[in-house]
Every structure is written in structure tokens, then in C-alpha cells.
Symmetry: C2
Subunit: 333 residues, 2 copies
DNA sequence: TTGAAAGCGCTACCAC
DNA sequence: GTGGTAGCGCTTTCAA
């Protein structure tokens, strides 16, 4: 920066102002900009952060970047935060709460301006770290009973209930559920819970197969469907924890010579791309994953703006943004 | 850190050494660690980076996080770099070279220790910035004619030729290609180039449909297949620029009552999960996307180790790692 | 094995 | 509109 200042014949402060886009006379600004280009000068963000006491980072934690759900959410966050000069620090927890804690710890070292993470469940240490960080926090994809700060999500249980209701209304009575075996995928467990509640409420019996790790992939569907039909051969509909699994199940139906939905109806969750493209097209719950990211970003920005205006100590906003979901009726159920 | 030092009754330097895991007497180390836990102290990475002149960042640029290809590559990079204490700065270029340049510029402000980016094509300014950065750079997913520094990838053109060869050997003679319309997806264009070369070399005629933006998604396949069959109704095989498109095309064949591969063979590229799960299972080119990330990470680490040992000015390694690919023969072709 | 001083590159603050 | 000074929280270097 000294070099640039010298070349432009101004002080470092003026260079700093030009970079920050603050009040500088047009002529001066041009000279400085020229010097910057000349020297290929790139300001050091670490020095800036240290000096000003505010970084340009936003921390983001998702269970898995490979799931289109969460990569869409990350895209939404990027869309909201990048225009405000925030650089995303993205971490992949792999559905592991200990790993989440390690990642939070490591990200906190970079003094992020705000934090977005997935789900309602975290280790006590993670919660403690997050609260102490004193920056806006949003938990995404769930509506926690006691949020750390704010939340942007929906009730996975209620959404699953709605799908069971849809199936019941279409006349299906022997409805199964296939999902993952892991206790770590809380959203999957919530969906299972919603399924169980609604099935019981209607006096139907539960038919649950839990198999495999999260994230649930396409290859989950085939063995899960086989297991379900082996135990309950007369099953007439199956709700899958995700469209990935639903797709695998439908392909397995093809292989077994079962028609969908004629012999068995299959419903998914998430409205992934495959649900619309596959034949039969998959009936599913549509969740706006990108919107969750976007709304989360906006919520964080609003909290940042407030904190700037008011006291320094982050006043937890506790706001909770409910994201809509809808049953998309297609061909498979 | 002063607070921690005071509480532990040592100097700041000793606290710093404990955090860095350097030579400190066990008793002292314990006292310090206790004070750290007590106060919930989290070291400031910006200050550390500024003081030591070396950040803990690795910059990564991919065209799209939504493509499982690239999210797998990011996972591979994480696996390689995270254990060495490097934090990934992930950017999504959206197949836009201008955006790539902006992202590089913004990431460079954080003084990354190394940089991984996708493809061989960049704006002149991007190349300039990257060279001036003086840190190891790896270009992934391609083998550039004149790499900036190192490269980890394969020839997309040769891989596509191999698939055409496979199809020709299975007796297909009227082979089409469906891909994206964008000039920005260089890997897609390379695949098209390979197709054209091999088709011409065998005296067959080209049948090319280019449609839609990158990243190519499942919904690309159906309209592209329709367009192909409208123009060349007697097509007996189609090579798709990606498995996503191939899947969409196969589903469209189902809808049109065409049997695959009986009426028309369909081949994909990438060996995505859907290729193995769908029926008929998709014949494709398998590329180890995760491995590209892993190898890239290892290449970067090796370069960092060298630079540490030797001179400060990064000696470009110019090494080029070739990644294997293979035709996976399944049911669809 | 530990401590003290200097300074990394920038921005906040106050003068002019 | 511009410049000087102080100092952000660490690590480097050297001394004890």
C-alpha cells in the first residue's frame, strides 16, 4: 500500500479510502487507481480485518455438499451475502456433530460476521461457542424448539404427515416408510416421526425400514424397497425419506415388474430434479432449498444491520422464518 | 491472549507456543490450556496470518457446486487439505470467466497459500493475477496446453472418442451427440470435439444437437433427444455430454415407447450415481471426480512443502497429473 | 524453557 | 479532501 501511495503521490490513508470507495476527489481517485493497476496491488484482507475489527466472512455449515438440497441452499446464501461483500466459509459436517463442533471452532478463528448452520441439534460445546461468538446465527432447515438465535426452516414432521394424508386420501391404506438408519440425520428422523404420527392417527399400522447412512443416495431405494416388501408384501404405498431413495425404489419396481403407482405408489421428499424427470414422475414434497439459503442470508444481513445501528453486543433476534412446502402431485402416487 | 497469559501466569509468547503445539513444559502447557478453556478463548486467525505472513487458506474455484462432479472434487480437496490445517475458500464461477476473475481477485485478498481452479480457460487478467500471486496453482479437470502452473485432469476429447469407438464396435453407425449450447463449458466442448473427430475418422456423419446452458441437468435430455430424432430419425445411438442428460434422454425414450438400447442406444459421461441406479443402467465414462480433488490437494501440498524447503519465490512445478477414465459398459449401450 | 520488544499491513481517529 | 499517528492481536526474533 505504501508503494501505491508513493507512486500516486498521496498518503496510505488516501489509498485506503479509494479501496473502500469513500470520499476522495475524482482526480485523486483516478491517480490512485492507476497506481494500483500499475503495480497489480491486492489489499491484504487479514490486515484490514485486524485493523477494523471486522472480517468479511460468513460461516456456513451444511451436512453434505453433495446433496443438491444443501448445495442449493449454499447458492441461495451466496446470492444474498456476496453482493454485500461477504466471503462464504463453507464447511461440510458430514452429518457428524463432533465434526460440526470442530468446524465451528476452526471457523470462529476467522471471526465471521455471521453464521449459518443446518439443523437444530448441536453439541453443547457448539452452542456455547456460537452464543459466545456474539454474532448473528441462523439454524436452517428445521424449526428448533429452542433456537440459538434465529431459524429459517420448516417442520419436517408436519411435511411428512401431510404426505401421508395425501396418500391416505388417494385411498392407500398400507403405507410404508423407508429412510436411513442413522440417528444423526435429524431431518430424516423428523420425517419418520411425522409418518408414524399420521399413520397411527389414522389407525393404520407402521411399516418402517431403516437402512444405510445419510446422505441418502439413489442406491438406497432398491434394497430398502426389497426389505419393505419382504416384510410386508401387501404394502400399497411407500413414503421415502428423500426423492433420491424414491427414485431408487421406483427403478427397483421396474426391475421387479411392479407398476408404479398401479401395484405400489411411491412418494418422495424434496422435489429434487430427478423427481420431475423420471418416469413415472415422482409425487413429492417441494421445499425451496435455494429459498432457505436466500432467506437465511437476508435474515443474517438484517441482524447485522441492526447490530451496527444499535448496541455492539448482538441482541439475539430470535426471529423464526417459516418456509413453505407443498405436496407436488405427479404420477408415482 | 493477554487475558489467557495473565490467568495462566505466563507471557503471551507461551500461550502462542501452546496454541502452535511447540516446545512448552507439560506443566505450563496444562496451565495455559486450562486458562484457554476457562475463558473460552479463540485465537484470531487474521492476526496470526498478518503476523506470520502466511494464511491458512486454500482457494478453490469450481464452475458449479450443484454438479455432483464438482462437489465430489471439493470433497477430495477437503480430504487432502483439511488435515494440514488449511481452510477452503470455495467459489462457484457459474461457468462465467468474468465471474471467475472477480472471485480470484476477491480470494487473493485473503492471501491463500495455494489455488485450485477448474479448466484450462481463464481471462488474461485471471492468469496474470494467478501468476503474480506466487503460490502453487492447479488447474483441474483438463490438461491445458499451457498450464499456469500444475494440472490434474484428463483429455475430455479423448475420453469422448473412446466412447464413440465403443459404440462403433458394438455396431452402431448413426451416432448422435447431445450437449449444451454454451461456449463457456469447455469440457463439454472438448467432448463434442472428440465425438466429431472420431465420427469423422470412421466415415460416419455428424449428428449434433446443442441446447441449453451449463451445467447440463436432467431436464436437458428430453428436448435434446426430441430434437435429435426430429432431424435424424434413424439415429441408432446417442452420446450425451453428461449422465444427467443421458438419464433425461432415456426417460424420454420410455415416454416415446422407444426401447433402450433396442431402438436407440444411449451413452453418458461422468458415471454419476443415476447412471448406475437407473434402468436401463447407463453405459458411461467413469471419471474419478473425488480423486481429481484428492490428487489436486496432494499436488498443492507437495508444492507448498517444496517452496518451504527451497527459495521463497514459488518455482512453478509444471507437473501434470493424468487422471484415468474408463468406459463402463452397462445396459443402455 | 520462557519472556520482551518489534512489527506485520491495514483502518480509526483526529488534525488540518 | 487529505495526512499523520496509534494500534488491532498475533508471531518472529533474540535474549535470558
Amino acid at each position: 500500500m505504501s508503494d501505491v501511495a508513493a507512486l500516486a503521490g498521496v498518503s496510505k490513508m488516501t489509498v485506503s479510502r479509494v479501496l473502500a470507495g469513500r470520499g476522495v476527489a475524482p482526480a485523486t481517485r483516478e491517480r490512485v487507481q492507476h497506481a494500483i493497476d500499475e503495480l497489480g496491488y491486492v489489499a491484504d484482507a487479514a490486515a484490514g480485518a485486524l485493523s477494523s475489527g471486522r472480517s468479511a466472512f460468513a460461516a456456513v455449515l451444511v451436512p453434505s455438499l453433495a446433496s443438491s438440497n444443501f448445495s442449493d441452499t449454499v447458492r441461495g446464501l451466496t446470492a444474498a451475502l456476496e453482493p454485500h461483500g461477504l466471503q462464504l466459509l463453507i464447511g461440510d459436517t458430514d452429518y457428524d456433530l463432533e465434526r460440526e463442533e470442530r468446524l465451528v471452532r476452526s471457523m470462529l478463528r476467522h471471526q465471521p460476521r455471521c453464521i449459518a448452520l443446518t439443523g437444530a441439534q448441536h453439541t453443547p460445546a457448539t452452542r456455547e461457542l456460537l452464543v459466545r461468538a456474539g454474532v448473528p446465527v441462523v439454524e436452517m432447515w428445521d424449526l428448533p424448539a429452542s433456537p440459538i438465535d434465529a431459524a429459517v426452516g420448516f417442520s419436517n414432521a408436519k411435511a411428512a404427515r401431510e404426505m401421508v394424508r395425501y396418500l391416505a386420501e388417494r385411498g392407500y391404506r398400507r403405507i410404508g416408510f423407508i429412510g436411513g438408519a442413522s440417528e444423526l440425520d435429524r431431518r430424516g428422523l423428523e420425517r419418520l416421526k411425522g409418518y408414524s404420527q399420521e399413520v397411527k392417527a389414522r389407525g393404520m399400522s407402521e411399516r418402517v425400514v431403516r437402512l444405510g447412512d445419510s446422505p441418502i443416495t439413489m442406491s438406497h431405494g432398491a434394497p430398502a424397497l426389497d426389505a419393505l416388501l419382504q416384510q410386508w408384501p401387501d404394502t400399497d404405498a411407500v413414503l421415502c425419506v428423500s426423492d433420491m431413495s424414491a427414485f431408487g425404489a421406483i427403478m427397483q419396481c421396474h426391475r421387479r415388474g411392479l407398476s408404479v403407482p398401479g401395484d405400489i405408489a411411491v412418494a418422495g421428499f424434496g422435489n429434487f430434479e430427478v423427481a420431475a424427470c423420471c418416469t413415472p414422475a415422482i409425487t413429492t414434497i417441494s421445499v425451496d432449498a435455494y429459498g432457505i439459503g436466500k432467506r437465511t442470508g437476508e435474515t443474517l444481513l438484517a441482524a447485522l444491520a441492526e447490530n451496527d445501528g444499535a448496541s455492539r453486543h448482538a441482541t439475539p433476534s430470535r426471529r423464526s422464518v417459516k418456509i413453505d412446502y407443498t405436496v407436488i402431485a405427479r404420477e408415482s402416487a
